[in-house]
Each structure stands twice: as C-alpha cells, then as structure tokens.
C-alpha cells in the first residue's frame, strides 16, 4: 500500500458573515433582517428572497425553543427556533444530558465560533419566556 498523510490547517475568512461570527464568539445571536419584507434569518441569509437591496444586522435576545432534538453516538443536536427569527437553526446542545424545551445561545469555550445552545431545564409550562 502507498501511505500518505496530510495535515491541513485552514484560515477561513468570515467575509460578509463577520458580524454573525463575531456575535457567536461572544455568545450573541446576530441575525440578518430585511427592511422590506421583515424576514429575519438566523443563521443569516445573504439574500432573503425579496431582493431587498440592504439587509441589516439585528441582535436577537438569544433564547430559543427546541423544535426537534436528536441524541446518539454522534452527540446531541437540535433544530431550534430563536426568538425574533423567521428561520430555524441547527445547534449543538452543550450538555448532552440536559433537558427542557428552552435554552440560550452560549459562547464557545475553545475560541471557535459555533452555534451552541445551553438548555435551561425548563419545559413549556414553567418557562418564563
């Protein structure tokens, strides 16, 4: 057999997503808003669909409701709906064993931007949101 080993280290520029990426590093949910149709996307969409010329950035409150959740050997992930966003988001649940329907976006501890959600253990009936 022919053995080859490659080690790659990428430097990925955030580009137009810089406000969003910076927000994630600080645990803030920075979304894209359209002043024409009102659509708010998180993660941000460069084009909202109505072809408005100048979408703007909006900082959401940062809490979200779990719509679907999957757990297993691959980890715990969820499709969640952030308050104030027209779109849903796929997040990694930072504490796999945590339960509850609501959670808050949290900053990564390794300095790498990521969509991380910490569940607060509350269900629909006892949540204050």
């Amino acid at each position: 057999m022919i053995r080859r080993e490659v080690s790659l280290s990428y430097e990925l520029a955030p580009g137009w997503l810089a406000p969003h990426v910076d927000g994630l590093l600080q645990g803030r949910a920075v979304a894209r808003g359209c002043g024409t149709c009102g659509r708010v996307s998180f993660p941000p969409e460069r084009h909202c669909g109505c072809a408005a010329p100048a979408p703007h950035w909006i900082t959401l409150e940062g809490w979200a409701e779990v719509v679907f959740r999957t757990d297993g050997l691959d980890g715990s992930f969820a499709l969640v709906s952030f308050a104030g966003s027209s779109t849903k988001s796929v997040v990694r649940l930072v504490l796999d064993s945590a339960t509850g329907r609501f959670g808050t976006l949290v900053a990564p501890t390794d300095g790498q931007p990521a969509l991380l959600l910490a569940l607060n253990g509350k269900g629909a009936s006892d949540d204050t949101h």
Binding site: M1, R4, L12, P14, L17, H20, V21, L24, S41, P43, E45, F68, T70, D71, G72, L73, D74, G75, F77, A78, L79, V80, T87, K88, S89, V90, V91, R92, P113, A114, L115, L116
Partner: protein, 391 residues
Amino acid sequence: MSVIATITGAALTRFDHRRDGSSFRDWAGDAFEAALAMSGLDRDEIGALVVASESDFFTFQLNPATVIAGDLGLTGVSALRVEGGGASGQLAVHAGARIVATGQARHVAVVGVDPSASTLPGSTVKMLYGMSFDQWSDGMTGTTSTALYALSVQSFLARTGIGVWALDAVTMANRANACANPGAHLPRRHGAAEIASSPMIAAPYRRLHCSPLSDGAAALILSYPGAVPEARRGAAGIVGTGAATDKFHLGARADLGRFAAKTLAMQRACAIAAITPSDVGLAEVYDAYAGAQLQALEALGLSEQIGADLEAGRFAPSGALPVNLSGGLLGQGAPVGATGVGQTATCALALEGRYHAGLQPRELPRYALADTHGGVCTTAAVTLLQAGAEA
C-alpha cells in the same frame, strides 16, 4: 417525447470495502470496459468523458478526470469532472446527456467512482461528510450527516404520522433485495430486533438504518440516438433530466422534512419527458438513510399513502412500483460518485430485461426513475428512462 441520449452501455463493479490492493482507477477501468463492450462501440468512437467523484480527499487525486481518461485509453477526448455531493453521479449523467444532446460528441462515457471505504478511516470520512453542510452555520456545530437527516426525518414522521416502524421496513426490504444482487455490499436479512439492538447514532437513526461507506464504480455509454450501433437499437434511453437546489440551512426551509428540491427536479424531468410520476414503473431512489427513501417517495410524487403502500408491498420487487431493486444505498452500498451512475445503469439494465435474476421484473416497465441527492436534499438530480426508446 424524444430521446435525449440512448444508453448503449451500462455496468457496475461490485460495491463493497475493497481489501484486495485494487484502487479506484482499477474499478473505473473495469466498469468502463464492461459498458464499452456492451455498447459494441470502439474505444476511439468515445468523444467525451465525464467523471463523477465526490471528493479529492477520498481519491488523493486532483483532476481525476484526466487521470482516468489516460487509464481508459481516451487521452485526447474532452474530459471533465462533476461534483455535487451525493448527487455527483446523477449530475454527471446529466452532463453527459447534455454533451450528446448538443452534438459535442456522438458517444460519451460517464464514469462514477469513489473509494469511500478503503482509503480513509471511517471516522475521518464522517468528519469529511460533515463538510457537506454550510461551514459557516450548520457545519459550525460539528454536526454529522446522520444528525441532520435525523432532524429532517423527525419532521417528516411528525407531519405524516408514519411510525418509526417504517424505517425498519425500508432497511429490511432494501437489504433483502441486496441478497439477490451479487454486487451488493450489505446483503442481509435483518429482523426488527436486530435493528433495535444496533447502536443509536442520532435518534431515530440506528446504525442499521444508515447506508455503508463503499468502494466501487459504475459506467454508462450515452449515445446520440441517430448513432446507436445496430445491435443496440432498442436500448433504453434518457427521456428526461431535472435538477434543483434547496436552501442550504435546514432551518431556513419552510418544511425541513420535505425534500422540495427533489419535487422541483422531478417536475422538470417529467416536463421534458412529457410523462407524470404515475407513469414510472421502477425507481432507484436515494436512501442514504432509511427515512430518506420515504421522504423521496413523497417528494417524487410516487406515493400519496407511503405507509400503506409500504405495508402492502407496492415497492417490493413483485409490487406495482419496485423501488431500489438493487438494494439501494442501504443494501447495494454507496461509493458516492458511482451512486447516481449506478442507479441509472440499474434502471437501464432492468428496462432491457437484463438485470439480476431474482430482481428483474417479469413485466418490463415503460419508464424508470433514477433519483439522487446531495446534502439533506440540498441538491437533487433525477433522470427518467424509457424502455426501448426510439429516436
């Protein structure tokens, strides 16, 4: 409808995990030579080569089309490589058909190949597949393909009311079909208890609900209908192709359980072929995960009561609409670049009545469908074939 391209040659290598020292270049050669022999054409009649390969990470070879052209004795022809994630192979079929349709070549070789099993550890491939998703959003979470498909199928099951039992049923059916396919990676006769005891990868998907990583190749010779060799008159032909994309972010879709791009692709292919989904009598659909097959059947318009049709055996080899006779990705395997090419080859062989004994439908259908997608149906590509298609 008119024939876009006649399939004068179609062949697949076996799909499995190769441990025999052979490489993807050997498999591409084997598939091509078999397809060329079936076509009755001489090598120098091939005017163009389209290669499907998902990732240079698997092959360790940039510009694989030129390398393969040389291996196949086709140096000098126009050669290109097509990549569209899991849909790479079907998109390559489309590219080949366009070359024929536009008169750039009378005979085109389409070769799909990937060493998805043997060149890298499975954990590395899983990480690489995670790069199929937007690295500035979904991909940032470290999510896996299985996790995203799991979230999508949860939405589908919740909307349709179909139970998780259907995931087991698809898994068992496809792997049982694979038992009659000598080239299949996972010919198995699973029981529900065996599936239930396999590890949970991302609920509701257990390991046995997932397609394997496979090595292998498939090849087609596509010919201008007016240039088909006498011995191949009456071969199946491509009468419709369609492709479409969906929003990259799963959460940005209006219904994350619905494969909307597949519906668009099917509508476009049907419009070209001037048929409707109800005309399709045989289908190879993209079942990277068991539930994806159910979602595909819905999106392609092949069933309005999927759970009932599944229970009634409509999609079985002896049913009214056989689905994944080959075993699909779940049973036959998934060497990514070869997948879509292999699906189309399977349909062409079945329409000619030359598919594997035990799987070949006794009554030849008029139309067959090959359906492939990449991402969580982020890119969809379907091809419609007609039996004995005349120009």
